[in-house]
């Protein structure tokens, strides 16, 4: 367990020291969201309508953009060999990696969500449920992403490959995440928010298993 926390601490420290940690992710998120109105026009009604979707799509993208270095950097400087050879089970190592990824991208975005919601004219009282949905769904992005990152270790232009491998798996997160958020924000009649939220939780729990197990299997193969 000690090893687990040591790895999380190191990863978070690396992220803060070189990339401004979570700040960078929030900043990227902000820029993507402010680019969208340029793309689709400044119609505020339309923007509000697609806001939950935009928030989630931006969340996916900022997760994707940071995933490709998750294991690749360690492979390039020889750290990966030592991680694989360490006494700590590789599954835990992958989990630690995913947790640190979430701490530096998912979590900051959840915290920043209200500000962004404000920019998109979302109702204030839907904010907490929205944050709840993001909080429940975002770990799945890091966990599933870890599998993609592990699969593409040692492949150049891994960044694009990861997107291709991972995005299909993000689809359920996106569907449930958006429908839970929409229920929270737009107050759909016959509210399905609770059910989507439960399904979102189920996806996150499932990826809590799939991520470390699949990631470790992929890494074991990739170092050889």
């Amino acid at each position: 367990m000690n090893a687990f926390f040591a790895l999380v601490q190191r990863e978070v420290r690396l992220a803060t020291r070189v990339g401004g940690g979570g700040g960078m992710a929030v900043f990227f998120f902000l820029i993507v969201l402010s680019i969208v109105p340029f793309g689709i026009g400044p119609d505020l009604n339309l923007l509000t309508r697609i806001a939950p979707g935009m928030l989630w799509v931006a969340l996916l993208l900022s997760a994707l953009l940071t995933l490709d270095r998750l294991f690749q950097a360690d492979q390039e400087d020889g750290t990966l060999d030592l991680l694989v050879l360490a006494p700590q089970p590789l599954e835990l190592t992958v989990l630690a990696k995913a947790v640190s990824h979430w701490l530096t991208t998912g979590l900051p975005l959840v915290i920043a969500a209200p500000i962004l919601g404000l920019m998109l004219n979302l109702p204030l009282d839907g904010m907490l449920p929205l944050m709840g949905a993001m909080l429940i769904g975002s770990p799945a992005l890091s966990l599933l992403g870890a599998v993609g990152a592990a699969l593409s270790v040692g492949v150049r232009r891994g960044g694009l490959l990861i997107s291709l491998l991972v995005l299909p798996f993000y689809v359920p997160v996106l569907i449930f995440g958006v429908s839970a958020s929409r229920a929270a924000l737009v107050a759909v009649p016959g509210d399905l928010g609770g059910q989507s939220l439960a399904l979102l939780g189920a996806v996150s729990l499932a990826s809590l298993v799939v991520g470390p197990v699949g990631g470790a299997a992929a890494l074991r193969v990739a170092v050889k």
Binding site: L161, L165, P168, F169, G214
Partner: protein, 243 residues
């Protein structure tokens, strides 16, 4: 060299076996597709609601089935490859992917061509159409992974992990219909209370589907043969370069 026995004993048997059965497989595929085509144009009646356009079903539905069948083959072979290290298994998985992708593509195209008269547009973003598109992406991602790793042994193992993890997506494709608002036909052939399609359409459909399945198996065998030889070529080339 001991390793060469491990690599070739089984594939050799497969090469012999497939050489014998391939002609029969092709014959069955040809018969199924030929008879099926005849049935679908001259025997099957127009649907009382959809008119003649229902004939697109004979392309669309078997392709859709085979798109999932192909992925099933990939998953099973990948499990065998990872656990039992059977040297034929990853060859099968790699060879099945492009065929599955082709049938997924056909299901999409035929569905789109069916959608224009039925829904008024080539494409809708409903659950089943979109999840079929996602399946195509998974196929392509799997093929991309194979293409991007130089060493076939390493590629085989990495791709197997992907295929198995990707199996999670199969139920998602099936159940997405229930999660998302949808236009597409719900299951009407394989359902607990019996098919809801009229039998005059149903049995030509099965004949075509059978023909398609044999076609799938035939192409799979050819591709596996080619893949086995390709690895042999690689080995020979490397050995001669080294000598």
């Amino acid at each position: 060299m001991a390793w060469s026995i491990h690599t070739y004993a089984n594939p050799t048997r497969f090469m012999n076996f497939s050489a014998i059965v391939l002609p029969y497989v092709w014959a069955l595929a040809g018969a199924g597709i030929g008879i099926g085509l005849y049935l679908s144009f001259f025997v099957a009646p127009p649907d009382y609601q959809q008119g003649d356009s229902v004939r697109i079903m004979f392309v669309h539905v078997p392709s859709a089935w085979l798109s999932q069948f192909g992925y099933g083959i990939m998953v099973v072979s990948s499990i065998v490859a990872l656990i039992f290290r059977h040297p034929l298994a990853d060859v099968a998985a790699k060879s099945a992917a492009p065929i599955g992708a082709v049938f997924t593509f056909l299901a999409l195209v035929a569905g789109g061509l069916w959608g224009k008269p039925m829904w008024g547009t080539y494409w809708v973003w409903d659950a089943r159409t979109t999840s079929t598109l996602v399946l195509l992406f998974i196929y392509l991602g799997y093929m991309a992974l194979w293409a991007m790793i130089e060493d076939p042994n390493r590629a085989a193992r990495v791709a197997a992990v992907l295929a198995i993890v990707g199996a999670v997506n199969l139920p998602i494709i099936r159940f997405s219909v229930d999660w998302w608002n949808t236009l597409h036909q719900p299951a009407s052939v394989f359902r607990l209370d019996g098919p809801t399609i009229h039998s005059s359409l149903l049995w030509p459909l099965f004949v075509v589907a059978l023909g398609f399945t044999f076609f799938f198996i035939g192409v799979l065998m050819v591709r596996m043969r080619a893949e086995i030889l390709r690895r042999k070529v690689r080995t020979l080339q490397m050995q001669q370069a080294a000598a």
